[in-house]
Each structure stands twice: as C-alpha cells, then as structure tokens.
Symmetry: C2
Subunit: 331 residues, 2 copies
C-alpha cells in the first residue's frame, strides 16, 4: 500500500488539495505531524477529523522517531497518511521516514502530495520569487544562548541583492531546564516568534557583528503574518518603522513604568514577565496572532515590486523615499 | 465581489485546494491563465470544466492585458476566478492585474489562494529548501540570440554553496519571425525546454565564460520532471551523466549519420530538423514529457541530502564519489 506524505497548505483544513483529501479518505491511519508548524485555526485536529470523517493522531517528534517502524508496518497492509502543515518537504525533517520506507523490505511506496508553504506565499508581498535568496530561520534567543549564524546567510543574500525570507521560531512541546533536570515530563505552552522580537534580534545581531547590510532606517522589510488565513496581515516599512508600530507610545511607556514602580511587592522576574506579556499583546494587536515571517528586502528591488509592496506600508512610512535613496530603485 | 487569484498546483485538476474549488464554484466567470505554465494532462481545459461544472475561458497574455478592465468590471458585480498553474504569485506576472483591482474605483477586493509550485516541489529532490539560493530561468537560445545572464546568478549561488533551481523555458503562442513580418497571426506549436537542452546550454555558457563553478564531471545535478504528476521522474548524477543518458549510443549515432548521408534529397535544414526531433524523442524517453527543471547542487550539500538524492542516481553514476571528492560531503 502507500505511505502518503501530504501537505495541508497554509492556514486551515480547507487548504488541502482534492488529491490530498482523496488520499486521506483512502487511508486507515492518519498522522498529523505537530512539531514543525501549525494550522492557524482553533481546534484544528477536530476540524480535520470532521472534514475527513476519520480519527487523526497527533504525531510528535518522539512519536515519529520511535514509532517509524510501526507507521511503516501499518503502511505495508493499508494506506497511511502523514499530514504536514504547509508543504511536506520544505525542510528535510521527514526525509528519514521516507528513506526508511523506501529501503524497508519489502519497500513501502511513498507518494508526496505537495502544497503551498510560506515559501510560495512570499509572492503575496509583491516581491518576485526569483529575487529571493536562501531562507533563514531565526531561533529564540535565551539569556545565555544567542545563536546568530543566520546573520551571515542574510549577508550572503544582501551582497548579491537578493531578498531574504526570515522565518520566526516555533517552539512546541518544549520542556523547561528545571523540569528536565528533575526528570519531570511537562511541556511549556507553545511559543511563536512575533515580528517585533524577530526584528529586535536582527538588529541586535547586526549591531554586535557591526554589519553594514542591515540598518534600522535604511533596510526595508515586509511582515507576512498569518499568510493564507482569513485575517492575513501584510505590513511594509523600514525595520525601525515595523518595530516602532508595535512599541509603546512615550505616554504608555511612562504609565507602565509607573505601574511597575508602584508595585513594590513584585520581584524582578515578575516585572520581566509582565513586560514581556505587554510586548506580546502589543505585537499581536498590530500583527495579529502567529505565525509571523519577515521579508528583508534586497538591493535588487524592482520598481514593480516597490510599487506593489508600497500598498502595505505602515502609516507615515518612508518606504518610497528609502527605496529611492538607499535602494536606488527607480520610480 | 471578489477577484480570486487561484493557484491550481502542479499537475492536474485534482491539485486545486478545497478553498480554491469553493471560490471557483462561487464565481460567474473563470479565466485560466495560459502563458506562464501548463497543467500536465491532456484536455486540461475540459477536465477543469467537468470538475467545476462551469465554462473556463483561456486567458492569453494579450487577453489579460487588453481585457483587464472587463475582467475587473465583471468582478465588481460577481465573483471572478483567475486560475494560474502552480502558485499564482511565483512571478510578478499578475501583480499588475491585482494592483489595478486594488486601485480601481471602487476597489475590487482581491483574494489570493496559494498552492504548490515547482519551488515547493524541489523538496522531492531530497535537498532542503533552506539550502537553495535564487531560482533561474533558462530561455531557449536561437542561432543569433543566446542570453546567459542567468549564468552569473548560478555563480552567485554556487559561490555561497547554495543549490540552484533552474527552470526550463516555456514558449506558448509564439509567432515565427517570418509570420510576424508578413503580418500573419499564426502560432507555433508550444515548446518546452527538456533536460538535455537545458544542460547543453548550461555547459556551453559555462565554457564561453570560462567559469569554474560548473563542470560536466564535477557538478552534481538533479532532474525534476513532471513533478506532482503520476509519471513524475527524478534522476540525479553529474551534468555529464544526465546528458549522456539521453544521448545516442555510438552505434545509434553511426546508424543515424548513415541514414542522413544516404538521404541525398534532404536539405541541411531538413536534416537539422530531423536531428532535433531525434534528440527530443530520446530526451522524452529518458525524462518523460515536459515540464522539466534541473537542480544544480551547491557545495553546502549535506550528508542527508546526498543520501536521499543518491536514491535517484542514474545507472553507473559517480554521484557518491563526486559528492565525496568534489563536494567534500561526509559519508
């Protein structure tokens, strides 16, 4: 029988293709991979089950690694569907399962059903797919772990004038270091990187490496939020503008600081958590719920790209001026 | 009402998403863009019409440019669907229509429904999307027009170790220069670049520019043919191997040359056409019908990528040896 590896597309259960849906309906077992991305609707597992009229099993990273043999064994006697949000093979995450299927005895036939992913949705920014260089992933920084090898990748793109798609980190089923050290299996709430944090890390890495290709006021970018969903949001501007629009006004900042000062019982950790929560709420007010990605515009910006993406610019943006002066993009 | 710009996905009418199909069914007019790509099934217009239960109008480049106003006028009073093979916004081809819709008075709401395109299907090669640089398009050369600016783009990718997706040219509704000069509106049969011609142009451009990043025997590549279709074909090897597999054997070559020599009535042009036809047939025997694309492997080749793509290697290929020696890819 067949192991189907099926892309669910960008946003909700209606983004599956007819071919994908037929494959699911022909399958006796259906796994939903749940560690590289998410569907952007509530109760998505139930919505899938309702559409398919079948039970769907959430497959965590451990499940897939530990139960690969049992998944393949099922696929030897009946069709099995393995669902992945977006396109199923955008990363090499699932190549191990596929290789094992192909090399098992007898081999399990594998069929890939592709779908849209954020790498196709970038077209909605108005920038041409041809002008994009390599894609980068921006991981969450912690106080003592700030990986930034992605910065050099952006540099490689920028030096040849290419745009960069920067994907915000996704953390699901994370365990805290405290729990892990005590042997407690308990998962943290899922976390998704939002635009302001992504830009903050970009600028911080750029500053500490003193690079010349990222500048808060001279680098244009386009925030792509919840692409393909009903409340998709696209905003363009300089990095500084995209950050400012989700920052507190001076008055708000003053009021919040005063609130914090007056709460004398709060520990520094509590205050820190409170500030992070406020920042997250502001980010979601402007950019919506996750998933968020950012396109960093390269020097090859074409007038048609500039014009289209300009329709998304934040109020008061210097988009066109920066395009003209820093990017030398013709009107 | 809404102007839907809908991706049809890779191969046939079953690759549309449920969301896309619903949009089509809600539309009073349905256009199928027919100049940037094709569905890889016979009678695709009829198959779409059968699935939708509605008439589909083929939209040629002229139609869209000339009738944009009438398309937008229709969309002001009822839903209109504009179908594009693959993802609808992979190139900026349709941004003009969308911009006009957004800026018309009153504006026509536009909704993009994304889908898989060849840029998502590259995952089937076993190479990670993250490791791809910019995509290039390889246009058909003629005897006196051999554009090769795409070579420098490949070089930019190769120098930073990135893989390159090279798309073969598509020519539909082309007019011959003779017809055009006589004012005759008559179209040539559609032409699609096949793998051997694509590789031949690559190597020829590389030789004439004396570049060091493309070498028939030391550059690995993966042919992606009819991706997403029932008869999808993926073959990997060095550029020379991928070319050789569609070349005549010495015996065949001798026999064909003899045939040509014996046909004393044939003009040089006829012989040329005959040779081209033989080459095309051989290419299709090995790689299948169009559409064909080629992935040129960059230095960043990862052992997992090497292993997966190795499952597609042509008989007798030095894939693993070249990966080890020229790419320094660990076993």
């Amino acid at each position: 029988m067949v192991l189907y590896i099926i892309g669910l597309g960008l946003a909700d259960e209606q983004d599956i293709t007819l071919k994908g849906l037929n494959a699911v309906k022909s399958s006796s077992q259906i796994y939903l991979e749940s560690y590289t991305s998410i569907l952007m609707v509530h109760d998505f597992k139930q919505r899938l089950e309702e559409l398919y009229g079948k039970e769907v099993t959430l497959a965590h990273r451990e499940t897939v690694e530990l139960e690969a043999d049992s998944i393949l064994y099922s696929a030897s006697s009946s069709n099995v569907s393995f669902l992945v949000v977006g396109d199923p093979l955008s990363a090499t995450t699932h190549t191990d399962l596929i290789l094992r299927a192909r090399t098992s005895q007898p081999p399990v036939p594998v069929k890939i059903i592709h779908n849209a992913s954020i790498t196709t949705a970038i077209g909605s920014s108005g920038l041409a797919g041809y002008n994009f260089g390599q894609t980068v992933s921006i991981p969450f920084w912690t106080s003592d772990w700030k990986p930034d090898s992605w910065l050099e990748r952006i540099g490689e793109n920028m030096r040849i004038g290419c745009h960069t798609l920067a994907l915000g980190d996704i953390k699901v089923r994370e365990q805290s270091i405290e729990d892990m050290s005590r042997g407690i299996v308990r998962y943290q709430p899922p976390r998704y990187m939002l635009i302001p944090q992504l830009i903050t890390q970009l600028l911080s890495a750029a500053a500490s490496h003193k690079v010349d290709y990222l500048d808060a006021d001279k680098t244009l970018a386009i925030a792509l939020c919840r692409m393909g969903s009903e409340d998709e949001r696209i905003l363009s501007g300089t990095l500084a503008e995209l950050l400012a629009i989700a920052s507190p006004s001076p008055e708000e900042a003053r009021r919040e600081e005063q609130e914090d000062d007056e709460d004398e019982m709060a520990s520094e950790a509590e205050l820190e958590a409170r500030r992070a929560k406020r920042a997250e709420e502001r980010a979601k007010r402007v950019y919506g719920q996750p998933l968020h990605s950012l396109v960093i515009v390269g020097a090859r910006l074409h007038p048609l790209e500039r014009e289209y993406a300009s329709t998304f610019k934040v109020p008061g943006s210097k988009w066109d001026q920066v395009a003209r002066e820093a990017y030398k993009c013709k009107e």
